[in-house]
Every structure is written in C-alpha cells, then in structure tokens.
C-alpha cells in the first residue's frame, strides 16, 4: 500500500497546529519517506522529542504498515 504524502502532511500539521510539513517520497517506492517539519511546538524541545512529536502524528501509518521508514528533518 503506497503512502499518501498529502495525508501524512495533513496528519503532521493537524497534530502540531501552526506547523508546516513537507513529505517527500525518497525512493519512489512510497514506503521510505522524508518529512521536513517546522513547528512552534518544537521550541525548547530536544531533537529526539521533536522527532517523537512528528512520529506520533503519523504513528497510525507505521502501525498499519503503510510506512516503513520516515526520515525526519526538523527545520528551525
């Protein structure tokens, strides 16, 4: 099942109000994705917590096997 990049972007932006997310299919296979995210909620958080916040937003798509790998880039 291929990931819906727009859906993932929407999940991240809904979980982190005020954020901007770009989700890219790195390999063209739909399951190794990259998310670049800027969010006000990241302020003062450690890098790992910022990653946890993004992962939590799309956890459902990990759990159902849609995504296998998500590279996260936090933008300041």
């Amino acid at each position: 099942m291929a990931a819906d990049l727009e859906e993932l972007k929407g999940m991240i932006e809904a979980a982190l109000p005020g954020s901007e997310a770009v989700v890219i299919d790195e390999t063209g296979t739909g399951d190794h994705l990259r998310a670049e995210v800027r969010a006000p909620q990241f302020e003062g958080q450690t890098r790992i917590n910022q990653h946890r916040m993004v992962k939590a937003a799309v956890r459902e798509r990990f759990d159902d096997g849609t995504i296998h790998a998500l590279t996260i880039r936090i933008l300041d």
């Binding site: 890219i24 390999t27 399951d31 670049e36 790992i48």
Partner: protein, 136 residues
Amino acid sequence: MADQELTERVQELISENPVLLFMKGTPSAPRCGFSMRTVQVLDQMGVEYGAIDVLPALQPLREVTTEISDWETFPQLYVNGELLGGADIVEEMFSSGDLAKALGVEQPELPEKPEQPQSAQDLPAQSPPLKIEGSG
C-alpha cells in the same frame, strides 16, 4: 508488553554505561548502515562507549525500548541515561557540536564529512536499503 526481566537489564545497562549504543552488529562489524554511521561518528569523538548488538533479540529489545524510551528503531545512543537519538540525530548533533557538548568532550577538528545537502530535493535518487528491518 515488554519482558520485565529484559527491561530491568536494559535499564541497568543504560544507567551503568554513560555512553551506550544499541546497534545492529558490533562496532567492528556493523550489520546495518545506520548503525555503521553512528559508530563512525562515535569513533571520532574519542569517548569510550558500550555497545550492545540487538540482533540476537531484536523484537524483545524493540518492545523494551518502545516502552522505556518511546523509540523502536535501532541504533539508539544513550548518554548519561537519556536517549539522544538514532543515526540521523547523532549525525546532526555531531555537525552542530551538540554531540560533543552532550558527551562533555571537545569537538574533534576533522571536517572529513562532506557537507550535508540542505534539503531532500538536493539528494540524488537512492535505491531503497536492502535487508534492513523496520527503519533501521
């Protein structure tokens, strides 16, 4: 639900080792590209670190780290009892100097690593990694 005995053992290891890496394979023979990259960074920092090969008990350990650290992929680098991150975060913190701060060492002066591309759009197309379970 993670195995209680294994969870306690992992927590002991994390508290006993100021710098501890859970990885696939060993530092001299990493068996995953992400683990290899993390070892390469750590080896430049000049710190002693413990390394645990997760492959013999991958799924039980995944359950343990999910429970104690809310993180299910390997490698995982713990410094002073806290999970710093996996390969991406460790490399990024290395580049920014935050890893040296976390480890309490001087930033090594060897700009061997090429500049990271600023954005995914700059990356050349890559084939998917082979035989990597989960996301590494």
